[in-house]
């Protein structure tokens, strides 16, 4: 029970961040948003809180790369 609660507390910030980023948005490129959601899922499954936070930061950089390729890549 304690383990489950600890895990829930650990991933809560990631879930909130994902909700904030994905919520109420007009997709620039649908594929980028799907990849971002999957990336956040992997980040939340990291073994420690700080690893989750760092992984979610990488998710946002990957998302930025995806969006710029979709919108201003030629």
């Amino acid at each position: 029970m304690t383990t489950r609660l600890t895990r829930l507390l650990r991933i809560a910030p990631i879930v909130l961040a994902a909700t904030f980023v994905l919520g109420n948005s007009a997709p620039a490129d649908a594929g980028c948003f799907i990849a971002l959601a999957e990336c956040y899922g992997r980040a939340a499954a990291e073994t420690t809180y700080w690893r989750s936070v760092l992984a979610s930061g990488d998710c946002e950089l990957d998302f930025a790369d995806c969006v710029r390729r979709a919108l201003i890549g030629r």
Binding site: F20, V21, L22, G23, N24, S25, A26, A28, F33, L36, L61, F63, A64, D65, V67, R68, R69, L71, I72, G73, R74
Partner: protein
């Protein structure tokens, strides 16, 4: 060698002078992989693709050289290309790594950045970039010498735009820059109908009536821009219908420096990017990988 010629002319009602297009490349088509950077300097246009491949097109003979980029790290995904006045080429190998490419397409120098960068262009002897996290209502573009990791100089007129969701923040603030001339560089927000030409200290915005037509992709109306000479701008308008599954420029418009249309041409083949421009000539790369020259005389 059999030259490829396709000559098209179109006289638009009210236009001052007709534009004529013809294919000028005789070699194999340029690679079709996504172009992630374009830079112009010293009579050559450089293109960087996501393969990654570095392409050089000379302005005088339109000679094309294609070289795979070597010396990058396995996780690198290059973005952006800047060619500075000393002839050096720079790209973002990752958001946090600025890499100098030799003309032979070899990574020669790597500078780790404190903050990630979203876009990269060249201006005189400086790199021009947008840094993450994106600021709201403050200058979003800044320039600095490539090896200077100190405080960059803000670029005028581009202020971070707010968005309801953080993800939209990126899309709303993506900036592209065209081909400049001397100190003047044209840049625009990807979803905007105005181009801002700046010399790094002052800036003026230019609107184009040509961007309000039914054939224009309203989500990203400006596909590319080049300053041709003292009084000429070339505007590549994004077509509504994609070509080969991708957005592309469908119409090329020649305007004066105020954005007033002089002439316009529906391109016989859609264009991926402008390669070079003068007052009378604009060379584009088509979606078929060929070079097309559009002349106004």
């Amino acid at each position: 060698m059999t030259p490829l010629f396709l000559s098209v002319s179109l006289i638009v009602a009210g236009a001052v002078e007709p534009l004529h297009a013809r294919l000028v490349s005789a070699g194999p088509p340029l690679p079709s992989s996504l172009i992630v950077g374009r830079a112009v300097c010293a009579g050559t246009t450089w293109l960087l693709t996501d393969r990654p491949v570095l392409i050089a097109v000379t302005h005088d003979r339109r000679a094309v050289t294609v070289r795979p980029v070597r010396g990058l790290q396995p996780a690198d995904r290059p973005w952006g290309l800047a060619c500075l006045t000393d002839g050096t080429l720079w790209t973002l190998a990752t958001s946090r790594a600025l890499v100098r490419l030799a003309p032979e397409a070899i990574a020669r120098e790597r500078i780790e950045l404190r903050w990630p960068r979203l876009v990269l262009f060249g201006w005189l002897d400086r790199v021009l970039f947008a840094q993450l996290p994106l600021p709201i209502a403050r200058p979003i573009l800044a320039s600095s010498p490539p090896r200077d990791t100190g405080e960059p100089a803000p670029w005028p007129k581009f202020f971070g735009r707010a968005a309801e969701a953080r993800s939209d923040l990126l899309a709303r603030n993506l900036i592209n820059c065209g081909i400049g001339r001397q100190r003047h560089l044209p840049c625009w927000f990807a979803d905007d109908r105005r181009v801002t030409v700046s010399d790094g200290a002052s800036a003026r915005s230019i609107s184009f009536a040509a961007l309000y037509g039914a054939d224009v992709d309203a989500s990203a109306p400006i596909w590319d821009v080049a300053i041709g000479g003292g009084d000429t701008l070339w505007l590549l308008v994004t077509a509504v219908a994609p070509s080969r599954g991708h957005k592309a420029g469908g119409r090329l418009v020649k305007t004066n420096r105020e954005g007033v249309e002089q002439s316009s041409l529906q391109l016989p083949t859609a264009a991926r990017t402008i390669l070079s421009a003068t007052d009378t000539t604009c060379v584009v790369l088509t979606v078929e990988g060929t070079l097309m020259e559009v002349r106004s005389q």
